[in-house]
């Protein structure tokens, strides 16, 4: 088993209204920034022991399915890499 960090990114499905992102966009414009659109997403970093990256991804995907995302309104992406990479 190897230490991996799985990353789950959860975002609203295309077309689902995101009032928080819209409010954030308006605030940025009030500060003088110019932008066309803004989307927000939640990112979860999960440290876990896994046989390989595919195993780590599969388990993180299951976590996304069962809790981290709500499939009614969310899409999600999962990736995994050995933990402490580059250290």
């Amino acid at each position: 088993m190897t230490a991996y960090t799985a990353t789950v990114t959860v975002r609203l499905k295309h077309g689902v209204l995101d009032p928080e992102a819209e409010t954030t966009r308006q605030a940025l414009e009030r500060l003088g920034f110019e932008l066309s659109a803004l989307r927000s997403a939640d990112r979860f970093e999960i440290d876990l022991e896994a046989a390989d990256a595919a195993d780590a991804e599969a388990r993180a995907e299951s976590m996304a399915e069962r809790l981290l995302a709500n499939p009614t309104i969310h899409d999600y992406e999962v990736s995994a890499a050995p933990a402490n990479e580059g250290q």
């Binding site: 499905k13 209204l17 009032p19 069962r66 809790l67 709500n70 009614t72």
Partner: protein, 229 residues
């Protein structure tokens, strides 16, 4: 025979719910979620509040607590289950009902009185009403916008699962009367069985005559009628 009002950490309408039910002469107890359902549970109410501080998504944590397995089993056995406000969010997150309740269109917490149009009169919750009746009940939520994809919404309508819709005082469905931008002005829906319902408005806050209207009484009365059936 008692209605179990399930209290999670952060629930805050549990006492109101018990008081409203008892006012209607329906036996009701607050049940701490870790204690499990009492053996004589004749009905289940998931009350409003901010269970688990709305962490992750409103209702997400409570929906995955062990007692919800018992609630699902009881619902499948025909025990009436009513989710109100945070309880509605918990119900959707737990899969008792379809769809999701998420951030209000205007990204504000809205605490006001609204009008609801009764869409079904042949359910335990709405037997005292006629289809098209307009009732006045308060809302208090920041995440009450009913969201569901187009195909599933079509299914929901085809299966007659919509129980209440936001409307104006005359019963007309308008955008202005839709306080949170809900799909189809949906305020409350039924689960697979008619004995399971969730709604964002608070019938328990429209039950005691001293604190406002009493339009919510017939909804809660269902617990009494079902228990004696």
């Amino acid at each position: 025979m008692t209605v179990a009002v399930i209290q999670f950490g952060g629930s805050n309408c549990d006492r109101d719910a018990v008081r409203a039910l008892r006012f209607l002469d329906i036996a009701a107890e607050r049940i701490w979620h870790e204690d499990g359902l009492p053996a004589d549970t004749s009905g289940i109410m998931l009350p409003g509040g901010f269970s688990y501080g709305d962490y992750l998504r409103a209702g997400a944590m409570a929906a995955r607590s062990p007692i919800m397995g018992e609630v699902r089993d009881a619902a499948a056995d025909g025990v009436p289950v009513l989710g109100v406000c945070n309880g509605a969010q918990v119900g959707c997150e737990a899969g008792l009902t379809d769809g999701a309740f998420t951030t209000n269109k205007r990204a504000r917490f809205q605490c006001e009185s609204v009008f609801l149009r009764v869409e079904r009169s042949d359910t335990p919750w709405t037997g005292a009403f006629a289809v098209g009746d307009v009732i006045e009940v308060p809302i208090a939520h920041g995440e009450g916008r009913f969201e569901i994809d187009a195909d599933r919404y079509e299914q929901l309508e085809a299966n007659d699962r919509v129980l209440f819709r936001y409307c104006d005082a005359d019963g007309t469905l308008t955008d202005a009367a839709n306080p949170n931008g809900s799909t189809g002005n949906v305020a409350g829906i039924l689960g697979e069985r008619d004995s399971v319902a969730v709604l964002m408005p608070h019938p328990e806050r429209a039950t005691l005559p001293d604190v406002g209207g009493t339009d919510g009484q017939p909804i809660l009365q269902a617990f009494g009628e079902q228990a004696t059936r």
